[in-house]
């Protein structure tokens, strides 16, 4: 992108206000996690650019993406939120755990929906308490259950007596799956071994020696940033079998496996969307966005795991906006209408095929009682030789018997603490 054209665009944007749909993008292209923030932000923006270029926006109304750099920093996130909300922002994707927790009460008070896709507060699944927060299609507790189900499937449904370790980032995020894994351990009879890694996770010798000595059958990982790369490298060093090492979706990007080279071959990660660029939509993306020189960033991230995730988030937002236009009968929707659209969102296989992303994500539907989708996810595996991720399972559902009571309990605690009466009107 040229600075001059950007300047002109900025001047034009400052001119008379036309009807547009504003999607803020709280990106983090700098700071410690920039490598992960760049592809996500690119994917998010490119999808909207594609809609603008190809369809003239959503329902005839052009889209404006407001990018604001947070650097993964909570305070900058506050500034970004305050500076963009006045522009008619329809939905926020806060991206960092800290900013999400920040925005949960604020955005609710301001009547703007928040979509924390695969992160943030898990119990926001309960829409009766968290009216404006959505976390479809899957959350951390689903992820923990997906991993255990995958292990169950690999072992013919019986894992009593096996040992499963969890290597986790010692923060609120990393501790998310512990409760679920403990409950599942009681149900399935495996031995659970949590191992904490302190931030940032540059040095993990002790943890991996512990794994080497305790010999767990499987290792799960809730890691972030440099912790992922070091953990995968150390696992390769102690010759832990990579196909028994399963990471959460934030430990499953190209960035995490590439530094370990061939050693990372066979590493698995959970995911709630498909990977690679083998989808019809990518032809359009190439034609209307990349070849036209309108790609966000350097345009070299297409098809990476996090680019696809950003694109998926944009796709879900665009579909929710369509739904909102349908329900309200207006093209230029407000955040409140957007919220209603998100709550009525239904993703079916036909819809995804129509968009050009067949089998890209799980099918799910959202309702007031359930802001978190149906808890479907899949497992992907890294092929170091070919240098790509591919799905090795279909989307399957998490153990709702375990997760539903946990969600109900935590959301009830939040409701009591902040004086919310749960209701679905």
């Amino acid at each position: 992108m040229k600075l001059t054209t950007l300047t002109i665009a900025a001047v034009m944007a400052a001119g008379p206000v036309m009807a547009d749909l504003v999607f803020p993008s709280l990106s983090y292209r700098t700071g410690p996690y920039a490598a992960n923030g760049i592809p996500f932000a690119d994917g998010y923006e490119d999808y909207f650019t594609l809609l603008n270029e190809r369809d003239g926006g959503i329902g005839g109304v052009p889209i404006r993406v407001l990018e604001c750099e947070t650097g993964y920093n909570t305070e900058k996130g506050v500034e970004c939120y305050e500076s963009t909300k006045g522009e008619g922002a329809l939905v926020y994707q806060p991206l960092s755990t800290g900013i999400t927790y920040q925005l949960i009460p604020k955005a609710t008070a301001d009547g703007i929906p928040v979509h924390s896709m695969g992160y943030g507060r898990t119990s926001a699944k309960n829409g009766a308490v968290f009216s404006n927060i959505f976390n479809y299609p899957a959350n951390y507790w689903d992820g923990a259950s997906h991993a255990v189900t995958h292990i169950l499937n690999e072992n013919g449904g019986d894992i009593s007596g096996t040992k499963i370790a969890l290597v986790y980032h010692n923060s609120a995020y990393g501790k998310e799956p512990i409760r679920t894994l403990e409950e599942l351990s009681a149900k399935h009879g495996y031995e659970f071994l949590p191992i904490a890694v302190d931030h940032p996770g540059q040095e993990q010798k002790s943890q991996w020696l512990q794994i080497r000595q305790q010999r767990p059958d499987y290792v799960l990982m809730w890691g972030w940033g440099v912790m992922n790369q070091v953990a995968i490298q150390e696992a390769a060093n102690i010759r832990f079998p990579m196909d028994k090492f399963i990471g959460i979706w934030w430990s499953g990007s190209e960035n995490d496996v590439l530094p370990a080279g061939a050693g990372a071959d066979g590493y698995k990660a959970l995911t709630f969307h498909n990977l690679g660029k083998d989808f019809p939509l990518y032809d359009d993306m190439q034609k209307y966005v990349v070849d036209a020189g309108k790609a966000a960033g350097a345009g070299d991230q297409l098809g990476t795991a996090l680019y696809n995730r950003g694109m998926y988030a944009a796709m879900l937002a665009a579909e929710a906006a369509k739904k909102a236009q349908e329900i309200s009968g207006v093209a230029d929707i407000t955040p409140a209408q957007m919220r209603d659209g998100m709550e009525a969102l239904e993703i079916t296989e036909e819809l995804m095929t129509e968009i050009g992303l067949p089998n890209f994500g799980p099918t799910f539907s959202v309702s007031c009682e359930n802001h978190g989708g149906n808890g479907l996810g899949a497992v992907a595996q890294w092929d170091a030789g070919a240098g790509k991720w591919s799905l090795i399972t279909d989307y399957y559902q998490s153990d709702q018997d375990i997760i539903s009571p946990l969600v109900a309990e935590d959301s009830a605690a939040f409701a009591a603490e902040s004086g919310i009466t749960p209701s679905c009107s």
Binding site: M1, K2, L3, T4, R29, T30, G31, P32, Y33, A34, A35, I38, N170, P194, I195, A196, V197, D198, H199, P200, G201, Q202, E203, K205, S206, Q207, L209, Q210, R212, Q213, G225, V226, Q229, V230, Q233, E234, A236, N237, I238, R239, N255, L258, P259, G261, G263, A298, D300
Partner: protein, 328 residues
Amino acid sequence: MPDQVLFAMEVMLNGLMAGVLYALVALGFVLIYKASGIFNYAQGVMALFSALTLVGIMEGQVPFSHLINAIFGTDIHHFGWHVPALVAIILTIAVMILFAWLVQKVIFRHLVNQEPILLFMATIGLAYFLEGFGDLMWGSEIKRLDVGLPQGINEWIDLTTFEAFGYGFFIDNLDISATIVAIFLVAGLIVFSQYTKQGRALRAVADDHQAALSVGISLNFIWVLVWSVAGFVALVAGIMWGAKSGVQFSLSLIALKALPVLMLGGFTSIPGAIVGGLIIGVGEKLFEFLIGPMVGGATENWFAYVLALVFLVFRPQGLFGEKIIERV
């Protein structure tokens, strides 16, 4: 031998290795502090910057490509050549010498005789600057660094110990190379400071600035020299740590691992940095192994500092630090 003892021995050996890596970072601090009294917080960012430069040169990346592309609307990223590791390392050293000269010329020449805390803050400012500058110059994605160092478990040790004790010890090849490099580095530094003219000048400056100045030693030259050597040490640390995690932002945080080592060993002592590194490495690993499981783990970060603090209470100048003599 019972398993627990073997495990503890394995943990201890790995702690020693980790200690060497900490000591490598701490060395850079000591060199600069000794010669100029500057507590150089930017040492970690220097490791990041030098490693970024090394990878950038090896891969033939165009510096500032993002900025150039944004201003001129071009689309350039790579020169299209690959430089062999050794040549790239030499070029990176040249860059670090240039950097040292600039730091001295632009910043610290103007801050001579200021209070230590101001010098410290200036280095934090330098760290900020270099962080933004490095990212702008080479981009912020994670880069793979491969200078041909062996990685992974050492087969020989594994086999030998397995035959001896029935349990194969894990020692990372990378750690072994780091240890060898560190030994050479320290030996080189000692030879340099004991037997060369510049080295003697350097020690003279460290002892007494004014006396050194009065016998005709150029302080400016010595300071540039010492920043260059620190830049070189940073490069070595950057290669060692970067080989493990890829070259990325978090590399700058290794400075935080070196601080307890400094406290323990004393800010002014090279042997102190080595011994301190080893003590911290073994101490934190053993604590995590023995006590960690009882308190929930992830204790290494704070335990290193607490350990150093306990030592300091008994020896306020660090293990090998010069005795602090105070006069009214």
